[in-house]
Symmetry: C2
Subunit: 344 residues, 2 copies
DNA sequence: CTGAAAGCGCTAACAC
DNA sequence: GTGTTAGCGCTTTCAG
């Protein structure tokens, strides 16, 4: 099948009676090439249907123009927005993206790291798996000084930039909001507190309680895997509590929505009996009834920024200066938590 | 930064007093290598921290072990499920995925094609952009005999395999269902009828009407870009019709959900006044009230199958035999279309 | 079963 | 401004 012969810079050189070196330079806007020569080269290249062989180029330059991405899971709205943002920026800058999923497991994460290392990616964009307590498995990259940028689920490391929102503040705000709506017994559905995102939201929740003279009670905190099913299960446990909570702050919208549905089935009035707030501003949040109060969280932007930051590093446009970039967030108050009816 | 020296097969060869050729063979289970020698090679490789240089290998073999993926948009639930499936299969088979988005534009699609061609992907997995009426822009690949597989939004071509569901049948079924619920004036919200998926669903809709002695009326068909906004806009036009329709079949869940919300705001009872059905089984469909009748459509499976089919072709495990693979689909009837209350 | 050697296509000193 | 040349690291005939 592979019939048509590959055109190389040698073919162009020969056709134009030039050296391959000149052709190579002409093809990439090298300053020391006559305008006129370059035009000839470009024209001939197009005429012959020349396509650069990136392997040869990469081999020679030991650089791949490829960025590796490792995410826990691909199939969430948030993550696809992130990837979409990355792709946009990377593509515009002439980089390719190689994407892999850790499926929330540290082992798979390590396997992904190895594959991406073999692919000689120029840099790595990572959101950590559920159970990665440290980042020793990234040593392969760190030891070689290959830039590593964490986003969302990050890990503090002197050599890595992190891109996050202020999860502490966001957790604090959303809990304070529930309190302002009269909630006093607020349950918190969370993920693995190994992960910064959940640990910080939990801390925000806790401090908001304390600052409002509500004692923090660990039995109101429900760690789970944040799936739809887990949301339903946790809610079932809430319903079995001797005294019902009057508010729920869930660390993502999936569980918040699942919680609302379960509560409704049990005949609980929302927000009157239990006010509910989520996190992520997933499209689901506008569809569930009552509409879900949630934290808006710019996925696309986070992806764009992560890619742009990495590319800037790769192009050496900056040193190892910045270490943490914090994106803005904003609470979206909707009916699920609004007891004191103001205007919507 | 890039300090640590790269270990190559030469280093291993030297350390073991072997030739690079033998090391190369040992590393990839070549049959003509003594078990014992291979073990020594593998051990030494591990000891030295050897990592294959894929560029050199790819350059030499003119093969990349990389699959290119072009999708209209990354940020939908369906598409991320597809990608997730592809990644799983590709990764297991030792392939990488390079993913790019056409953002529904033929021009960007062409740019993606060129990039992926330069990256020397071994094959291509494509779901076509909104406005690609032909696939001449894929000639680069077709002429070279590089396998090209379409999924979901496909184009009939003798050299390409397509992976689809039976959109005609699905459209027929869902329309018939609406009719069985007593609908007689059914509007259809659709996308660009250039695309097989929408054209086929439309044809199914049409034939279902005719087969039930309901005349097909073009003014009941509303092409749009299937966004949330478009769903609301179309619904507004429905509401302005001199006589309201009594059923809506939307070609995706996003518009169906948006339609329901708009109708509810206008005080229309669903399904009593207007029954609504969507397409995709998006997570939204279970959350909207009333729950949305929709067509289940296996994204993850489609992705897995597309990748598996391509890889089988690449490994030459089969000729150019199969041309179209049709995946099963199944209608999920929920309250949004259920007038004759049976059991749910 | 192993080795020698050529070359995949490109880039970047270094020359002129 | 342009040319010469030496590899980047690997695979694969061909020989033995």
């Amino acid at each position: 099948m592979n019939t048509q012969k590959e055109i190389t810079i040698y073919d162009i050189a020969e056709a134009l009676d030039l050296s391959p070196a000149t052709v190579s330079r002409g093809l990439k806007d090298h300053p020391a090439i006559k305008k006129d020569t370059r035009k000839k080269i470009l024209d001939k290249a197009k005429e012959l249907g020349y396509q650069q062989n990136l392997f040869a180029s990469n081999l020679r330059r030991s650089r791949s123009n490829t960025i590796g991405v490792i995410v826990p899971r691909l199939n969430s709205y948030f993550m696809s927005a992130v990837i979409s943002g990355m792709e946009k920026v990377a593509n515009a800058a002439g980089y390719n993206l190689i994407i892999s999923q850790s499926t929330e497991s540290k082992e798979k994460e390590l396997a992904n790291i190895k594959t991406l290392y073999n692919s000689r990616v120029d840099g790595l964009l990572v959101s950590l798996a559920y159970d990665s307590e440290d980042i020793n498995h990234f040593d392969l990259f760190l030891n070689k000084g290959i830039p590593l940028i964490f986003f969302d689920r990050v890990f503090e490391h002197p050599r890595c930039t992190s891109i996050v929102i202020d999860n502490y503040k966001a957790g604090y705000e959303i809990t304070s909001h529930l309190i302002s709506q009269g909630c006093k017994r607020i349950a918190h559905i969370t993920g693995s507190v190994i992960r910064n995102v959940y640990a910080d939201r939990l801390k925000g929740y806790r401090h908001a309680l304390v600052d409002n003279s509500i004692p923090y009670d660990e039995s109101f905190v429900f760690p789970c895997n944040l799936s739809e099913q887990a949301g339903a299960d946790v809610t079932q446990r809430l319903l079995e509590m001797p005294e019902l909570p009057d508010g729920v702050f869930a660390a993502n919208d999936t569980t918040a929505v699942s919680c609302i549905r379960t509560l409704k089935q049990a005949g609980i009035k929302i927000p009157e009996q239990i006010a509910v707030a989520g996190f992520n501003n997933d499209p689901l949040s506008k569809v569930i009834e009552p509409n879900l109060t949630t934290m808006n969280y710019p996925g696309q932007e986070m992806g764009e920024l992560a890619a742009a930051t990495l590319i800037r590093k790769l192009d050496n446009k900056e040193g190892t200066s910045l270490n943490t970039i914090v994106l803005h967030h904003n609470m979206i108050v909707r009916e699920s938590s609004l007891r004191k009816k103001i205007n919507l």
